[in-house]
């Protein structure tokens, strides 16, 4: 057991450290200089000292987790906390490779219709009970049950049955091959809970197999996690982590400057820069992306030439510079690192007003046209500014973008119903492209009414991508998906932003991730 732990955790640490060089773009600050948020490549990540054992850390958050039940969590803060309390069968390392979680290894059958997971030995839930295959079967079947309203039910939509030949083995039987499922199983929405627990018991206390347990929760004030003494992996260096609620980013910045908080993630670069003292701010590119969603089933958007005219009329870098102070990078449709789209592989790689005019003329709108766009006023930072910058650019191409700036509840209702001609949106990305767009663009996807687009070609490509086991072939399939999306100007993908992880120089061992995950709290400690 001890040997097994060492064997499994050594590579994990190595990967985590190596990833600092690849993914984490770090800048440093001291008391005498302003923290920088400029993305700069670090050449070596091994300089970080090993954390000492013990101590506490305070993480600043703007709102307390709205649930502690993992299958229903969608809020950022709830997700970040729960992924340190519950485990999943598979997990991501810092480079977003799928690595063992509660499953030590797995084997996919030749036809891709069965995945056999060999479960880790000696794992216990935090209440001391043993973990086995019955817990996996119980959890996944409960998630599949519509009555439980688990948010990740669709991930297991293709799982026809779950076998447990013995207590250490689980077999997922699939209706069709699904290569992406291993990546999709990493979500804490698919956390494995004890078969003795219910939603009711897990709504007031946690009982996971992860590195931390919930010690206390005071609504609106804080959540305290403590080291899980039954954790199967290396014990966390920290005794406790307090997620302290400081209701806005300026208050968190002030608390960090005064030394009351040791870690926080900012979405606003200007606020991140106001933090003073011995603090390092890491700038991390995100998988989420800003897009102008065009509803190809609504109004003038049904005409491909109109959509292409819009694509050609928008200067993505200029919008980024204007609305988000240049804090981000222009992107194509797929942001998943291993499948990333070439942002310039599109009919108009750069802004081209002449081409826009030609497309507009081809659509029979040479004299210009008007389009409605919905924008959320208070859902995320920068939405209205992005909308205004896009509208200003489209106006130069004789396209009037009528902005409907909506309260977030109204925006979400309209978005969900697909009740818009176009929408300024910030959508989440996923490490696997099928997880990212498999819900949107196949005609059977549960978000297809929102995407406003489907085609036989798209259905065929997604079906092929889902079942293709050869990584090189799969990569080409999703490059084709990307080309299909861009050539038809299904939406206008603009750019991805950054997050800014500020950490006090008194702590070490934390690795920010492009998914926004805080899973490396388990390796974080005091210097």
């Amino acid at each position: 057991m001890t040997q097994l732990k060492q064997r499994l955790n050594a590579p994990l640490k190595a990967i985590a450290l190596a990833s600092s060089a690849g993914l984490v773009l770090a800048g440093c600050a001291s008391a005498s200089e302003e923290p920088t948020t400029e993305p700069t490549e670090t050449t070596s990540a091994t300089a970080e000292p090993e954390p000492t054992s013990g101590g506490s850390m305070v993480v600043g958050i703007t709102v307390d987790p709205d649930t502690i039940f993992p299958w229903k969590a969608t809020q950022f803060q709830a997700f970040r906390m729960l992924e340190n309390v519950y485990d999943t069968l598979t997990a991501f390392d810092a480079d977003l490779n799928v690595v063992p979680g509660l499953a030590e290894s797995w084997e996919v059958s030749d036809d891709g219709l069965a995945i056999t997971f060999d479960l880790r030995d000696g794992v216990k839930f935090s209440d001391g009970s043993d973990f086995d295959s019955a817990d996996v079967k119980y959890s996944y079947e409960a998630i599949q049950d519509e009555a439980n309203a688990a948010v990740a039910r669709s991930t297991l939509g293709g799982v026809t049955s779950i076998d447990t030949p013995d207590s250490d083995t689980v077999v997922l039987n699939l209706a069709t091959a699904d290569v992406g499922i291993l990546a999709n199983l990493t979500s804490v929405n698919l956390a494995i809970v004890s078969s003795d627990d219910t939603e009711e018991t897990l709504s007031t206390a946690t009982n996971g197999t992860g590195p931390f347990v919930l010690e206390s929760r005071t609504a609106g004030q804080n959540v305290v996690l403590a080291r899980n003494p039954n954790y199967w992996g290396d014990a966390t260096p920290l005794d406790t982590v307090e997620f302290r609620v400081l209701p806005d980013e300026a208050a968190i910045a002030a608390a960090m400057s005064a030394g009351n908080v040791q870690m926080a993630v900012f979405s606003d670069p200007i606020t991140a820069r106001t933090v003073t003292g011995d603090v390092t701010v890491n700038t991390t590119p995100q998988l989420s992306y800003h897009a102008l969603m065009l509803n190809a089933r609504n109004g003038s958007m049904t005409d491909k030439n109109v959509r292409l005219a819009i694509q050609c009329a928008i200067d993505r870098q200029a919008v980024l510079d204007t609305a988000l102070l240049g804090e981000g990078a222009v992107t194509g449709p797929i942001t998943s690192p291993a499948f990333r789209s070439d942002p310039n592989a599109r009919p108009c790689p750069e802004r081209d007003l002449a081409a826009a005019a030609e497309y507009l003329a081809a659509s029979g709108n040479a004299g210009g046209l008007e389009i409605d766009a919905i924008v959320a006023q208070n859902l995320y930072a920068g939405a209205v500014e992005i909308a205004q910058a896009v509208a200003a650019q489209l106006a130069e191409a004789n396209i009037t973008l009528n902005l409907e700036v909506l309260e977030s509840g109204t925006y979400i209702d309209r978005w969900i119903a697909g009740d818009f001609e176009s929408a300024i949106a910030l959508n989440g990305g996923r490490p696997d492209p099928d997880g990212m767009y498999g819900r949107y663009f196949p005609s059977t996807g549960n978000l297809n009414q929102v995407s406003g687009y489907s085609s036989d070609t798209m259905d065929a490509l997604f079906a092929a991508g889902k079942s293709e086991g050869d990584p090189a072939v799969r990569k080409q399939i999703y490059a084709d998906v990307s080309a299909e999306l861009e050539d038809n100007a299904v939406w206008v993908w603009m750019f991805s932003g950054y997050t800014y992880t500020a950490t006090s120089d008194s702590i070490t061992g934390f690795t920010p991730m492009t998914t926004g995950s805080w899973q490396y709290l388990r390796t974080t400690g005091l210097k």
Binding site: A219, A258, T274, I416
Partner: protein, 322 residues
Amino acid sequence: MTAILRSSVIRKTAGALATLFGVAVFVFFMLRAIPGDQISASLGTEAAGLTEAQRQALVEYYGIDEPLTTQFFSWLANLFAGDLGFSVRAQQPVLDLTVAALPVTFQLAVFAILLALIIGVPIGMLSASAPRKARDFVGQALSLLGLSIPAFLLATTLLTFFAVNLGFNPNGLGYKTLFEDPSVNLQQIFLPSLVLGFGISAPIIRTTRAAVLEIRGQDFIRTARAKGVKTQRIQFRHILRNALIPIVTMTGLQFGYLLGGAVVVEQIFSLPGIGRQVLLGIQQKEYALVQSTVLVIAASFVIINLLTDLLYRAIDPRVRAE
């Protein structure tokens, strides 16, 4: 006289109950007029992926499956039984949350009022003591600043200034009650009270100034002066005592507003008070939480108005005589 008093109390109580019922109806239906529900507030755009059966399960989970009128009267009936509802987010009864939050806001309001009186009354009296002179202009300017500087701006500025330049940010430590840690609690409550108190001191300066100016011109003051009463005694026993009625009215009103109006300051200084509870409830569309908390605030407001009325009787013999 007893009969008159009894009928007055009955009339006031009936009025208060009618007001509270009106507030209950208004809040209940206004909340539901806001687009979205607890499902979309909780899941955001992820709600688009729900199947019909999942949505139905969530509707039942959040208790929003009953017709509106049934929801309304069942909420009212529960209120009378002392059940303010249940917060799904916090997994706690609203009553428990309110009992924890109300003292925070109450303490903040008391401190803010005290600071406002300490700032407002002397400045108002100084202003009135030399109308249209330098000290009056300074007093008027301070009052104008109090009225025109928004609380959020002053709060953010003070918070940042103290934290960044002086390393003083007790509000970043996590809230401590007066009983848990009096020293930290008083530090945590000082800046927010100052921000609110400064804002409230403006109407108090103006009210004090106007009241003092009015009273000092009256015959009984001239008579007192003619009798040789000392200036200090005239200022405090004759003028201030009589000027107190409008000041108390103004203070009572401000105190009531503070109970519900400290949202912004509580939010910025991370105080877990009743204002923040309402704000979070609205963001999460937690209907029971918002309805019940607003009703508690309204009830507090009504009670404070009644207490203000009673205070008149203590400070003004004429009211007692009536």
